[in-house]
Amino acid sequence: MSRRPYIRPVSKTTWYMRNKRYKVYVLRELSSFLVAFYTFFTICALAILATDSAEKWDSFLASQQNTGMVVFHAVALLYFLFFQTFPWFKLAPKAMPVQVGENKLPDSFIIIGHYVAWVIVSAFIFWLAGVI
């Protein structure tokens, strides 16, 4: 009897195609590009604002007003909700479980708490921006 264990190969570049769970994970991870994009987008906007020139700011706003950007932001918003915000809320109670008295608080409590807080934060931002 000789041992000769067989090692099944794993692709380092395409492993996530193996099942649906991994594909969803990779889609979730790709939302990091959106975080990076919007952060730098906002920094660029601040750079324009930092010129203290109303004309430059207005022409920046004008340059943003086209169908291409509408589509981009709309798609980005949906992608971000489904692959960043919602997963983050779903996973939050796992990293930070709360024990009240003897028993753990059900995950759903913490998740609902996140959604409530999210609505409040978003409403506050919209209020600040004069939308509502």
């Binding site: 692709s11 380092k12 570049t13 996530y16 990779v26 991870e29 790709l30 990091s32 590009f33 959106l34 975080v35 990076a36 919007y38 952060t39 730098f40 987008f41 906002t42 920094i43 601040l46 750079a47 604002l49 930092a50 203290d52 109303a54 700011w57 207005d58 706003l61 943003q64 007003q65 086209n66 950007m69 509408v70 981009f72 932001h73 709309a74 980005a76 918003l77 971000f80 909700l81 960043q84 915000t85 983050w88 809320f89 939050a92 990293a95 807080a117 999210w118 934060v121 978003s122 931002i125 919209f126 600040l128 921006a129 004069g130 939308v131």
Partner: protein, 114 residues
């Protein structure tokens, strides 16, 4: 053996993930409004300039930008690994350098305004 320095960036990643999850959908919505031509009052020059000139406004913007940029940097490092790029030290120094530059730029512009 000691706790790896990854603990620092992981802390920023976790805080940034929470902040972006809460704040970014509303921000994208504002940009979307701009793109459709309905510029919110708060983003008109006078109002936004006043907001970014106040210390509270500066602080809010800086915290969000600082945490987002480090969050994104850390996640992009993981993405690179997931797509089979195994030069982790190189990737890490690249993404964290960009994050540091982003942090400095955000601070610089915010301090310039007003």
């Amino acid at each position: 053996m000691a706790i790896a320095k990854k603990a620092i960036v992981w802390g920023l990643f976790a805080a940034g993930g929470t902040v972006t999850a809460f704040v970014v959908p509303a921000l994208i919505t504002l940009f979307l409004l701009v793109a459709t031509g309905n510029v919110p009052d708060g983003l008109q020059f006078d109002q936004f300039h006043a907001f970014a000139s106040s210390w509270l406004g500066k602080a809010c913007l800086f915290i969000v930008l600082f945490l987002s940029v480090w969050h994104a940097a850390h996640r992009l490092r993981v993405v690179a690994h997931d797509f089979g790029i195994r030069k982790d030290a190189l990737i890490a120094s690249a993404v964290y350098t960009v994050a540091a530059i982003g942090t400095v730029l955000a601070a610089f512009y915010l301090l310039t305004i007003g």
